[in-house]
């Protein structure tokens, strides 16, 4: 085989790789299911934290709130609540929602200080 022909074979091979990647990443990417909450989009995460804050307002149980926030994995509950508060402030959440999140952040910071 001539060298120039080898070059065409290699180029064709690379085109095949490119087509495979495009198909596998863009046209028909792997479908995901059974995911963990840390993969959620930021607005869904923030809304979950807001739900925890709403429940905390009634229950006043920081341990339960921290357990609910623990679904997001490695971060501390206060960091999770702080992230949600930052998101709420920059994305037009209502004042009452921000207030609830502030209360949750304060509670989680205090709880982190006393929990073992």
């Amino acid at each position: 085989m001539k060298p120039i022909r080898w070059i065409f074979v290699i180029v064709t091979f690379l085109i095949g790789i490119g087509a495979g990647l495009a198909y596998g990443w863009i046209i028909d990417p792997v479908e995901f299911f059974d995911l963990t909450p840390d993969t959620l989009r930021a607005d869904y995460k923030s809304d979950y934290v807001l739900m925890v804050a709403e429940a905390y307002r009634l229950e006043q149980d920081p341990g339960t709130a921290a357990r609910r926030l623990a679904v997001f994995g490695a971060q501390s509950p206060s960091a999770i609540a702080s992230d949600a508060l930052d998101y709420a402030r920059t994305n037009g959440f209502s004042d009452s929602d921000i207030l609830l999140l502030q209360e949750l952040v304060t509670a989680m910071q205090a709880w982190s200080g006393i929990s073992p």
């Binding site: 495979g20 990647l21 739900m51 925890v52 209502s94």
Partner: protein
């Protein structure tokens, strides 16, 4: 005649296969912006629990409904009821009650307005105009509800903002689980002759004092030679407070709620006549309620 370019075809197929293997198996796209509907089942349960707890706190049904829709359950009410049953079996009666309450309110609706939290304490603050606007939940995308309590804050006072006259009144939404000290009353005992039901069927429905059906209530039935226990809530499609038992023919049964209740006695399956003249054994429907 020109030869078919097998080498090119093989190179293309090999490259394609390699690319697909890399894209699908070795390094699939990392998903970082997923939706709640693709969460693992146990995390969906956790989501439902928190939605129910949040609803118990706020009473905001449209918001709870919109949040539940994100989970993609074919029937959110059935999913809530089923989870309530599982929660009971794990001993979390408060969580089960919250789930059952949300399911019941979704099913029957509620006239109670959402509870608005605007009672907060600010240091160095003084209120001026307070406006409360309750906007119905727009869409799952707009999850942050426009539930706007806007205390305007100025200087040097500790203040609790007051709701304007049209502020919805906060309401209790949680129902404590029944206790030993709250005996149930037998408020109805009906003979049931329905050929569409199984013969000798004893149906029991248990309500709390606010007419909400109570799941997980242990019911004791006894007869001359023995006894058995059964529980409400195992057939949520018939109601959270529903339970049934097939009685023995020609036998007198007595039924009471284990927590303490009136006793329904002399329950012998009654003889009934079908429209075609045949006779069969009917049943009873007992209704208990906390006073």
């Amino acid at each position: 005649m020109k030869r078919f370019p097998w080498s090119f075809l093989l190179a293309l197929l090999a490259g394609l296969g390699l690319g697909l293997a890399y894209a699908w198996m070795i390094s699939p796209l990392r998903l970082t912006d997923s939706e709640p509907s693709v969460l693992r089942v146990d995390f969906k349960d956790q989501f439902r629990s928190v939605i129910a707890a949040s609803y118990a706190a706020t009473g905001n049904l449209p918001r709870a409904e919109a949040r539940l829709s994100l989970l993609g359950d074919p029937d959110p009410i059935e999913a809530l009821n089923a989870q309530a049953q599982r929660t009971i079996s794990s001993g979390d009666f408060e969580g089960a009650d919250q789930l059952a309450a949300l399911a019941a309110d979704l099913e029957h609706g509620t006239n109670q307005p959402p509870q608005v939290f605007i009672t907060s304490t600010f240091e160095d603050a003084k209120p001026l105009n307070v406006e409360v606007t309750v906007t119905p939940f727009p869409s799952p995308e707009g999850i942050p509800l426009q539930l706007t309590g806007m205390p305007e804050i100025f200087e040097t006072q500790i203040v609790e903002t007051q709701p304007v006259p049209n502020t919805p009144t906060p309401r209790p939404t949680r129902t404590p689980p029944p206790t030993q000290g709250a005996p149930f009353r037998l408020i109805a005992q009906d003979t049931v002759c329905d050929p569409n039901l199984p013969e000798r069927l004893l149906q029991v429905i248990v309500f709390n004092s606010s007419r909400r059906q109570l799941p997980g209530i242990r019911i004791v039935i006894t007869w001359d030679s023995g006894g058995e226990e059964f529980f409400t809530g195992l057939k949520p499609e018939l109601g959270n407070g529903y339970a049934d038992f097939v009685m023995f023919p020609d036998t007198s049964h007595a039924v009471q709620i284990a927590l303490g209740s009136d006793i329904a006695t002399d329950l012998v399956p009654p003889a009934c006549r079908a429209p075609n003249g045949e006779t069969y054994l009917g049943g009873y429907k007992l209704t208990f309620q906390q006073p």
